[in-house]
């Protein structure tokens, strides 16, 4: 049983997830979900090596706590895809809502177009083995990478005049890196964030993710592999260390 098709029409999320789990248990390697109209929690906590193709609009918390699978959404996605995700890949052929990649601690999330507020908030990393990556093709909104503690956020700004036009980028950031195509005005940086040089090393670091993005969305990486990026990193790993005194 390699490929399974599920019609999600009129199906509530729990039976839908049960059907998906059942298919994975039975050895499905590819699952196609048709007629998805906003069901939340798809692939929530799902483990295994399976590709789920979602035809329609995925609801909130797509792939939350997921570890292993690949979800490909042929459409837009509501808030927080990849929430607290551990491993696996989510590819969204459209835009996503707020808090995309919230607390993601491993795996990769690729969004073709734009994301809402608080993208990559609380993204965390533990050594190299758990390094989350969020790649946004279009633009992001305020509080991108807030409280970020690890991983990589890459905003490519394709077709955008201003890929990151809102304030609060990296407020409270104490680990990881935010890379945004083009110039980022200083006043958009949040507390504790600072700009760092984008050099050959950084370009080398983002190249595989740019290439992977282009592979999924059928575009050419060549125009994106240059030095036209701004790199944002934590000013310190201890942003609030100086705030307190003893009783």
């Amino acid at each position: 049983m390699e490929k399974v098709e599920i019609d999600a029409k009129d199906m509530q999320y729990t039976p839908l997830n049960e059907t998906i789990r059942e298919a994975v248990r039975n050895g499905a390697k590819e699952i196609i979900l048709d007629n998805v109209i906003g069901q939340r929690f798809i692939a929530d906590g799902l483990k295994g090596d399976v590709t789920i193709r979602i035809n329609g609009v995925a609801g909130g918390d797509l792939g939350m706590f997921m570890n292993g699978p690949t979800c490909i959404v042929n459409g837009n996605c509501d808030h927080a895809p990849g929430n607290t995700m551990d491993g696996g890949t989510i590819v969204i052929h459209g835009s996503a809502g707020d808090a995309a990649a919230h607390s993601m601690r491993g795996g990769k999330l690729f969004v073709k177009n734009n994301i809402g507020y608080r993208g990559g908030i609380h993204m965390k990393q533990y050594e190299e083995e758990r390094k989350p990556v969020l790649v946004v093709g279009g633009s992001s909104h305020a509080f991108l990478g807030e409280y970020m503690a690890g991983g990589l956020i890459l905003v490519l700004g394709i077709g955008q005049e201003d890929p990151a036009k809102d304030r609060g980028i990296g407020s409270g950031i104490h680990g990881g890196m935010i890379v945004i195509r083009g110039e980022v005005k200083d006043e958009l940086l949040g507390v504790g964030a600072r700009k760092a040089e984008f050099g050959e090393k950084e370009l080398e670091m983002i190249t595989p993710y740019v290439e992977e993005f282009c592979k999924y969305f059928d575009t050419e990486p060549s125009g994106l592999l240059d030095m036209n990026y701004t790199c944002i990193v934590p000013a310190s790993a201890r942003p609030f260390a100086g705030k307190y005194t003893w009783e």
């Binding site: 049960e18 939340r40 929530d44 906590g45 706590f65 609380h122 260390a241 005194t245």
Partner: protein, 503 residues
């Protein structure tokens, strides 16, 4: 000009006649009060925190400690503490950090509530001879049971029951994270709850491998920082708790300073070594009760609806309305943490001034849930400042299903409530990650102390219930007629729904 120093808080003296120069006090004090000069022990009382480790280890009882040996000009408003806090902040310009619970002398409502006992009619029950039912099930209860009666007399339950947590005693241990407390401290608590058939919270620091053997007694916590949270962690827990608020610091999040994030803590929390572990007050995917419901459901969905999900909030003035919302979110229990709740580190201004007493919060939550006809949909857990079995009995009579204890369990392991947990130098090996200090705590011995505390409070609870003519904890729950208020004002009695003494 310098502001100069403020007087000592404690003064240590050694009875030189008694002292045998064993130097144990030097080894025992992690705060560096003692040192040796030639053959003499020199004391720096200013460093003392009244943790009592030296006193408890001195073989000659030679050490004495006095609180605040220097007076200020007395003033009812400008207390020594008020003056010293100002001096501290004038000097530093910073937020004052504090540990443990609210240290202000607010009247304790528990101490103004008295329990009832039977005399002639409705006789009391002797727990020695009669079975007492303290087993507690936490989670949703169906509003009615549907059964199918078979012709042969068998009955089959048709109603699908929601998973509940089964406790042998209504006493659990609240969430104290690995990071805030040491692994040995967590291990002691874990062994204790296993021994006594109850549960403890992991706190927001993840689940260390050493605790895996006790996972069936663990409630795993999900806080805004999501430290250590992955699908395996969720699956290991017997229940999952979403932390929204904490009694010691309502409205603000958790913050483990980078100094405490050692290799093992960083691995368990899944964050970089030495970085601050910040979990701000809001969960950034929760901006409404509907969003909270979404997180509850996503946790249930991830664990296939097999585990109860709790939501913990701080006791604040509208706790009742919040709890009613939580009851409708698919959550199975709401934890209400009162303003006496402990903490490893919190701004002092929050610890001492924000929140409301657990007694009032529990009573109003219970009443609101009953008024709305949804009390069966959710269990209520009271926590924050529970000091003895009477507090537990009173909490249950006010409407709790069970309680969490925190500071009480730490005291059973040696804690002297010195309130310096945030410094990471706890000489009892509890609130520290310093290997030499952690080593002082023997999980085997301390688990027995904690288990003994739970056992003795459980025994006392059955005695109190028996005296009140009650043989099942369920009959004590929300049984306000077994309580009377002594010297409580009318407004408070009204919130508690308790009559005054004599009525």
């Amino acid at each position: 000009m310098s502001l100069g120093s403020v007087p000592l808080k404690y003064k240590i003296t050694i009875d030189r006649e008694q002292c045998m120069h064993c130097m144990r006090c030097i080894d025992n004090c992690s705060y560096g009060v003692y040192h040796k000069e030639d053959d003499r022990i020199i004391i720096d009382s200013r460093k003392c925190t009244a943790c009592h480790h030296c006193i408890s280890m001195c073989p000659r009882d030679a050490i004495s400690l006095q609180e605040r040996p220097v007076d200020y000009r007395s003033h009812p408003l400008w207390t020594a503490e008020a003056r010293e806090d100002i001096i501290n902040q004038a000097r530093t310009g910073k937020i004052i950090l504090a540990g443990m619970g609210n240290a202000k002398p607010y009247p304790v409502i528990f101490d103004r509530l008295v329990l009832d006992a039977c005399q002639v009619t409705n006789p009391s029950i002797d727990p020695l001879r009669e079975p007492m039912e303290l087993r507690t099930y936490l989670g949703k209860k169906p509003s009615k049971l549907e059964i199918d009666k078979k012709d042969n007399g068998d009955v089959e339950l048709l109603t699908k029951l929601t998973p509940n947590l089964k406790l042998e005693t209504p006493i659990m241990i609240g969430h104290m994270s690995y990071g805030a407390i040491s692994l040995n401290a967590q291990l002691s608590l874990a062994k204790a709850v296993e021994k006594t058939g109850t549960f403890m919270g992991t706190g927001e620091g993840g689940l260390h491998e050493a605790i895996y053997p006790y996972q069936k007694n663990m409630i795993v916590q999900v806080a805004s920082g999501r430290f250590g949270v992955d699908i395996n962690y969720l699956e290991r827990g017997a229940a999952i708790e979403i932390k929204i608020g904490q009694g010691a610091k309502p409205g603000i999040g958790g913050h483990l300073p980078g100094e405490k994030v050692c290799q093992d803590v960083s691995c368990t929390r899944m964050i970089p070594l030495g970085s601050d572990a910040i979990s701000p007050a809001p969960h950034h995917d929760i901006y409404s009760i509907e969003d909270l419901a979404q997180l509850v459901r996503s946790l249930k969905e991830a664990t296939e609806w097999k585990k109860p999900v709790f939501v913990k909030i701080a006791a604040v003035h509208n706790a009742a309305a919040i709890a009613a919302g939580i009851a409708r979110s698919s959550a199975d229990a709401v934890v209400i943490d009162g303003f006496r709740g402990g903490s490893g580190a919190t701004p002092k201004v929050f610890r001492d001034n924000v929140g409301i007493p657990i007694e009032a919060a529990v009573a109003s939550v219970d009443q609101k849930l009953k008024d709305q006809g949804i009390r069966n949909k959710i269990s209520v857990i009271a926590s924050g400042g529970i000091r003895n079995s009477a507090d537990i009995a009173k909490s249950i009579a006010l409407g709790a299903d069970a309680v969490y204890i925190g500071t009480g369990a730490l005291i059973a392991m040696g804690c002297r409530v010195c309130g310096q947990c945030y410094r990471g130098m706890c000489p009892w090996g509890i609130a520290t990650q310093r290997p030499d200090l952690v080593e002082r705590l023997d999980p085997e011995a301390e688990s027995e102390h904690v288990a003994n505390l739970i056992r003795s409070w459980t025994l006392e609870l059955s005695e109190l219930m028996g005296a009140a003519g009650i043989n099942s904890i369920e009959s004590l729950r929300s049984n306000r007629s077994r309580l009377r208020g002594y010297m409580l004002d009318e407004g408070t009695l009204d919130v508690l729904q308790v009559k005054p003494v004599g009525a």
